[in-house]
């Protein structure tokens, strides 16, 4: 055992290795921070330590430059936030409804239903894009709000997996809530709906927040479905917008892009902090990112 006063010397190589790793992990994000405040707005003029600081890059996201292209950053940000919040809310709601049924009721096809939902989950959603595109195209001819280039259509497509993706996680949690609680509520005359709202859901707040936050962050990150369904730049979500923003002219928009990246991270990081305590146990349960 090492002497506590001496432990820094003992483990110097550990610190060295970790510091190297920290550099690799932290430098790119740090560089974005400096680029966002760098007075030289081009990629070639950017450096780790800016020569002069400015807030112009942030201003460029909100105010149209004279003679410059129209700025949609606020719209992208708002679209992303609205759709992420709504998706998180409805994902939790739909998932909890289904999990409650599979956890508390015994009905025909229950076992098959659960297995089926598990299998469905394995079908990568991306592969359905052609079909989803055509369905949304046709639906739009009848209900315009569910057609192409509409955020509502995107939301509905996101929600299609709400039941299957989190069913097992939520049902597992619901199973761990003692059935005696339901029982006593039922003796007091509560209906199944009242037990769901009044007993189960308040007790399930931890799992509800985890599922909601994962849905929230996942939506903020989603690129491919949005790129297929949304067509015009004013309706884009943040990933699409930022990609389009730098896609053509990386060189001259670099400073504003970095500023946009900084702002775009805020919701996801708030979400991450909020669920951090649940994440490690959630990770080992098999939900995957990256």
């Amino acid at each position: 055992m090492s002497d506590p006063t001496n432990r820094y010397n003992d483990h110097w190589w550990r610190h060295l290795v970790v510091w190297l790793a920290v550099c690799v992990a932290v430098l790119p994000p740090l560089y974005v921070v400096t680029a966002a405040f760098n007075a030289d707005q081009t990629l070639s003029g950017s450096s780790l330590i800016p020569r002069a600081l400015t807030l112009e890059n942030f201003k460029g996201l909100f105010v149209q430059k004279e003679g410059g292209a129209e700025v949609f950053f606020v719209r992208w940000f708002r679209s992303s936030l609205i759709i992420a919040v709504l998706n998180a809310f409805f994902t939790v709601f739909i998932g909890a409804l289904a999990a409650y049924a599979f956890s508390r009721f015994r009905f025909k096809g229950r076992r098959m239903g659960m297995l089926f939902l598990l299998l469905i989950q394995m079908f990568p959603g991306l592969l359905n894009l052609v079909a989803i595109y055509l369905i949304v195209l046709r639906t739009g001819e009848v209900v315009p709000a569910l057609g192409l280039n509409k955020l509502t259509a995107l939301l509905v497509v996101y929600l299609s997996g709400a039941m299957s993706v989190n069913l097992w996680l939520m049902k597992g949690f619901f199973d761990s809530i003692p059935a005696e609680l339901d029982e006593s509520a039922r003796v007091d005359g509560a209906t199944p709906a009242q037990i769901f709202w009044g007993v189960i859901l308040p007790l399930a707040v931890p799992v509800l927040s985890v599922v909601g936050m994962f849905a929230f962050v996942g939506t903020l990150n989603e690129f491919i479905t949005a790129s297929v369904l949304l067509e015009t730049v004013d309706n884009f979500t943040l990933p699409l917008g930022l990609q389009a923003y730098v896609g053509t002219s990386y060189e001259e928009n670099w400073g504003s892009f970095a500023a946009g990246v900084l702002i775009a991270q805020i919701p996801a990081i708030i979400g991450f902090v909020f669920v951090q305590k649940y994440i490690i146990s959630g990770l080992t349960q098999g939900s995957v990112k990256g």
């Binding site: 970790v18 359905n128 308040p202 690129f223 930022l242 990609q243």
Partner: protein
Amino acid sequence: MSQSVRYRPSFLAWLISLFSGVGGLIVKLMMLCILNGITGWAIIVLFTQERVIWALGTTAVLASIDFIYLVPNRFLPAKFILPGSVLLVAYLIVPIFFTINTAFQEYSTGHVLTKAEAIQTNLEQNAVQGDRYFRMAPARDSSGALVLVLVDDSTGDAFIGRRSGLEEIDPTTVEVDDFGDILPPTGYSALIGDEFFEIDAELAAFEVPLENGGVVRTEGLSGAYDSAPGFQFDPTSGALVASDTGVEYLDNGRGSFESADGEQLVVGWREYIGFDNFTAVITNPLVRQPFLRAFAWTIGFAGSTVLLSFAIGLFLAKVIDKQNLRGKKVYRSLLVIPYAIPGFLSLLVFKGLLNDDFGLINKLLPFDPPWLFDPWWARLSVIMVSVWLTTPYFLLVCMGALQSIPTELVEAARVDGAGRWQVFRKVTLPLLMVVVTPLLIASFAYNFNNFNNVYLLTGGGPTTEDQSVAGATDILISYTYKLAFESGKGQDYGLASAISIYIFFIVAAMSASGFLRSKALENMK
């Protein structure tokens, strides 16, 4: 999730419980009303568009939903499962069937119409201008409908052209004034002044069908010409016959009209072609080569990303996982930063960092590798960035797993004289792998379809020597995406769907093996 429930009445919990009575009932009824309103509107629109089957089907679905929710104390499980199921069926299960159906069809650029539409389009598009020119005056008949008064420029015959056909009239009833303008016969009223502007669009689209299959179209406000179809449709043989050369174009069974010497008409139709899309991956060298290259790279990319991330994550976890190492928590928080940032942002940032001329990485390096412009450097870039994104995940997993390994086992091995490396190889690693293997498989399956990491960084490029749709860093899923949505060589939904189904089987096999190991099925009481 933690198995024990610690109940702490929070604001959120209190808020939720408010719905457990009258409030919930009101919300439920309101949602039903909204649903009925929107769907009812859709049904009306469907009827007006004469899609009767769809309208009836939607009505039936809506009626059963209403029935299930409005009958108290029955269909309880259905009440809870229905909202998710409706969305699941509409946007997940139907698309799956659609994808399977499409995979068996020739469905690509030039093959999007039905056969009847394709015949019609071929007849219209290939029309050739006829030899007759008419002086024309738009007029209204006694019922107010728009007609054309026509005088054949060469013969002087006069006609009334309607949408239903051409009717010959006595040429003497039609007067031609000094300017060459036609005055309509009695019973028809000439258009005057502003009326011309109002019918402008209507007139341009006005077509008078002829008996030979051609049409008379207007030209400007005072002329018209006839056009004859370039093809005749022969209903007995089902062939299109070219009017000028007499060449027969027959249905070739693959969604095209084809002549005896192999010439195909541009406009074809969707046609079932059996397993051809699936076998094209093996038999057609133009498809086989990019497919196999994308397939090999997908496995290489996903495999190396997962293994490298796991190795580095485990190494760092072992380094940090030392009792009373100073700053352990700070290190962990700093190392997890790449995981906390939305992936798409990191990818776009790296695209700038790896920029050839101006990127930070090339500024720091003494030489300038063409990171995103050379096939092998681009592949390296994709793997490096993916490892950067994925390592924190495995770091967290390994730190958790290492802590769960009982210290008695390690100490027992040490007492028996095992070295550090031996303990790691023979005790720690096997125990760790029990926990981590399903996650490795899941991560591999995830990266197998990691569209973002490829598409946002390199766009699948750079293009390879054979100039195919699949670039050097295209994995199967991005290759499929390009085939269906953005190929400069025309889109091929059929082939894209077939490849999608291959991907499904590969991923399902991987998921199944991971799933069986994770014993999740035991939870199913």
